[in-house]
Amino acid sequence: MSQRKMRLATVWLDGCSGCHMSFLDMDERLIELAEKVELVYSPFVDAKDFPQDVDITLVEGSVSTEEDLHKIRLIRDRTKILVAFGDCAVTGNVPAMRNRFRLKDIMERVYSQNSTHKNDPPVDGIPALLPKVRPIHEIVKVDVFLPGCPPKAEAIYFVLKELIEGRIPDTSQLSRFGA
């Protein structure tokens, strides 16, 4: 086997970035991982476009906007193993709490009733919100689910280690919905 490093990407859709913070909490284990993977796309690095031929992508956040929808389909096309990373990606979680309301009502509440400036909702250069927030597996096929809000650093480390070793990890005992 060649020593080719695995191409890893992490993506931040509609989430609070807490899962990425937890990723950073792997601390010194990040150095160990860096020897085995190349981080080709991530909020942590400067790449602008999602590259081709990614081995593993961790997706934090739910699919909430047109942009998220476009991205997740692109990511699925270009990724071998897609990991739903954290509760927002797995269940919809907090972003999905708006789903019980109509989008129009939410916009009105935020941009007219509760706003001091009574502005119209912004439209230019901002992706439109989808009527419902969805967990990513409702849009594309997901290979590994890692629930948790956020998943602990240990769980993330275990998942990545297993995937690097070519195994699909059993995440059920590592983490749970909500924590």
Partner: protein
């Protein structure tokens, strides 16, 4: 004179066990260190066999039997944990998560929830069914407690504890099917109930964050159940 206790012998998951006549499979399994999952059954309350998580395989029976209401019989061979059963249990939990808005991360019982704990124990890492996101109310009209229907799984423990133990019968179920909902009295705000004694038993038997004490923040609410067996024994053992 008391009738002599009859003993039945049976096997549970290949283990030979003995039990008193009249005991249920669930009780005997528990006595022998086998914890059969359940969300509606609670010792001290009458069993209803509604959550279907405690279904077990009994050799010779042509269907699965709920362990919480099935009495042991001589020579029974019970399997509590086959792959088929585990798959069914997982799917039942998935159905529950999809039914209402269980946002664990912001729930008062996060970390102390029976539904959440069971999901982890049974390896439910995601829900394959589309979430329903129903529009359900939170009733915080009671002085000390609140009921959040988003977290309710309709186990009816609250209904039973209030009726059978407290004797107030504040809670009941209205509607049917997916539209079923727990109601206070004649579907009125909990705080306006004349019969509620504010005893808090419903709060503590509730397996999820549906009924909780006010003033608790995320993950702060823990349920205390110790009172229940004590109360039932004191009341002459309806257990």
């Amino acid at each position: 004179m008391r009738a002599p206790v009859r003993i039945k012998t049976l096997t549970i998951d290949g283990k030979e066990v003995s039990a008193k006549e009249g005991e249920t499979i669930w009780q005997v399994a528990r006595e022998n260190g086998i914890d059969i999952p359940t969300l509606c059954y609670l010792e001290g309350l009458s069993p209803v066999g509604a959550c279907r998580l405690c279904l077990v395989e009994v050799k010779g029976a042509n269907r699965l039997l709920p362990a919480c209401v099935t009495q042991v019989e001589e020579g029974m061979e019970v399997t509590t944990n086959s792959e088929r059963l585990v798959n069914y249990r997982r799917m039942i939990l998935e159905l529950l998560f999809s039914e209402r808005n269980h946002t664990c991360s912001v729930c008062v019982v996060n970390g102390h929830c029976e539904l959440q704990r069971l999901a982890q124990r049974l390896g439910v890492t995601h829900v394959r069914f589309p979430y329903r996101y129903p529009d359900l109310p939170v009733d915080a009209s009671h002085e000390r407690f609140a009921i959040d229907h988003n977290r309710c799984i309709l186990c009816t423990r609250c209904v039973r504890v209030c009726d059978e133990i407290e004797g107030a019968h504040v809670w009941d179920v209205m509607g049917r099917g997916i539209k079923s909902q727990i109601i206070a009295d004649l579907n009125q705000p909990w705080g306006t109930s004349d019969v509620c004694t504010s005893c808090g038993k419903c709060v503590h038997v509730c397996p999820t964050g549906a009924i909780f004490e006010k003033g608790k923040a995320v993950a702060e609410m823990e349920k205390r159940r110790q009172f229940l067996p004590y109360l039932t024994i004191m009341r002459g053992g309806k257990q």
